[in-house]
Symmetry: C2
Subunit: 336 residues, 2 copies
């Protein structure tokens, strides 16, 4: 255990709320600014740790570790510092007042990571139709917590990525938190509906489109087939946006008892995605994460913690690993 002085040696001190850095980081809660700067925030020790240690980190690259005076007292601080220094990024020591200016959390633990976000791949249509690909297409999801839970669920179900059509911003700090680090392992893209419809024209005939729907006229999710490449289309809190109603999708539904009209969005996604997963090439498919690594950025982090994942660069090169071990996960049920 390092002393506080040893811990903070070499950090830069920021103690004024008017400091331009503080103002810049605080502005990352604004979607427009995130897009302009190509940056976002991972708030909290756990999420920051995930970002620093996830293999590859997806499109995200750590830029700066921020540690408030209270945060520096936390047991997690030392490990984060050590990971940050291995990554060669700047560390900042912030007054609690400055930290409060930056944080969106009610009970912040005083630890945060500034991330640069690489551009989304331009040719996402190609990713959707890759052999073996399974994507969740979530249209009009508004709540970043719901969207984050969808990403985490898709990753756990062995899906290749999440595409959000309108609604949430996958760069939002609240989305990153809701996903508990899923964004660092799973490509989470966003497009508007028009762009998706154009891509669909390109992909149709090569990928299967299945809409998870409230309509009991659709097939029972338990008896349907889920061949790959598979796109599972899910409407948001207010259902499927009208512009997507005309798509030639096969629909599946979950029969509900007790007069229940609908399930929580992530619960419904969990049931359908895990059903698709169990049907996919036997009951225990290998992890199938496709990470859209920023082109030109060298792999980072502790790859040996993870089975090798097939990666897709922003330029679209596919790097298939040798046949990897099955990652059947730890089957956790604890967190919410």
């Amino acid at each position: 255990m390092l002393s506080r002085e040893e811990l903070l040696r070499g950090t830069r001190r920021l103690a004024s709320r008017a400091n331009p850095k503080i103002r810049e980081w605080a502005s990352l809660h604004d979607r427009r600014i995130r897009k302009e700067l190509g940056q976002t925030l991972a708030e909290g020790a756990r999420l920051a740790g995930e970002a620093l240690s996830a293999p590859g980190g997806g499109r995200f690259r750590p830029m700066a570790l921020l540690l408030s005076d209270s945060g520096a007292e936390r047991p997690e601080a030392e490990r984060l510092f050590s990971l940050a220094r291995q990554s060669g990024i700047d560390c900042y020591s912030l007054s609690d007042d400055c930290q409060a200016r930056i944080s969106s959390l009610k009970n912040s633990d005083g630890l945060a990571l500034v991330l640069s976000a690489g551009p989304e791949p331009a040719d996402f249509a190609r990713l959707l139709a890759l052999a073996g690909a399974r994507w969740l297409i979530a249209a009009g999801v508004q709540d970043p917590g719901n969207a984050g839970a969808l990403a985490r669920t898709a990753l756990a179900a062995g899906f290749s990525g999440c595409l959000f059509l309108e609604g949430v911003d996958p760069l939002s700090p609240k989305f990153l938190r809701g996903g508990m680090g899923a964004s660092f392992r799973l490509p989470c893209l966003s497009r508007n509906i028009r762009e998706f419809l154009a891509a669909w024209e390109d992909v149709r005939g090569r990928a299967e489109l299945v809409q998870a729907s409230a309509n009991p006229a659709g097939g029972d999710y338990r008896s349907e087939k889920y061949p790959t490449p598979l796109l599972i289309l899910l409407g948001g809190e207010r259902g499927l946006p009208r512009e997507l109603a005309g798509l030639p999708a096969r629909t599946v539904h979950i029969p509900l008892a007790g007069g229940v009209e609908s399930l929580n969005l992530a619960v419904a996604a969990g049931i359908v995605l895990f059903e698709a997963n169990r049907r996919h090439a036997g009951d225990f498919p290998a992890a199938d994460a496709v990470s859209c690594r920023k082109s030109g950025v060298a792999p980072r982090g502790i790859l040996r913690e993870e089975p090798p994942a097939r990666t897709v660069s922003a330029r679209g090169e596919v790097n298939s690993p040798p046949a990897s071990g099955v990652n059947s996960g730890t089957g956790g049920l604890r967190n919410s």
Copy 2:
């Protein structure tokens, strides 16, 4: 469409925040007061409507409809008034200021229902071991939104009830909202761990206890059996309370891909409960809601909207309906 005057005819007007009724209703956000008074609040037009029209209403009985000046302008107000008058309950017209005193919601729609809550059945151990019963036992769940989502999921999966061990209060207005009305159709009980362990001594050998766990040493949820009477035990946000670790439960886990350590609580419950449901007497079991109706209270509401449910009174009488139609539900995926 009634005029505002016609709508409010016969209501009682409350315009002072100091009015004892206003103070009493505002205090229903306090767990201790709810228990003392045996009352709670259903906030919002949708939930109030569910409470007024759910068959039986479980242990809840409407006491008073509260309508703020802004709420009276909403299109839902007329239907609620009409339902409230059919139920013969009092209607109150509140100033917006009084309504704000009562509501816990950021964006209240100005409509709320005061409910009396009947006592929980004393002999709940008996309910757990009823033939065909399937209960979700959720231990240490803290967040009322999570708990509500669990109740809604259990109802949709054809379960007989939810038993919360410590953690949330099933009378909490936030829990009622999180469940989107599930509480009015599904018994949601709460006990402390000691009481449950005592009940378990009574039930063991007659019911199957299955713990949904993060431990991959447990059986794969897809290959396990789920015979009834079935108790599925689930830990809360921080895992299973230590006092329950020694129970002789069979454990099941959900294999997770992508290095994900755990799923959102309601997502995990959804996957396991729907799996148990599909194994139960074929793929399309009838709704199996057991409603703990307050003894002596006549059925209420629109029974024809629902398949007849087997009901259990607080005294423990079981009223089995004639074999009912299959309620395969509407398979909704919309709300969160």
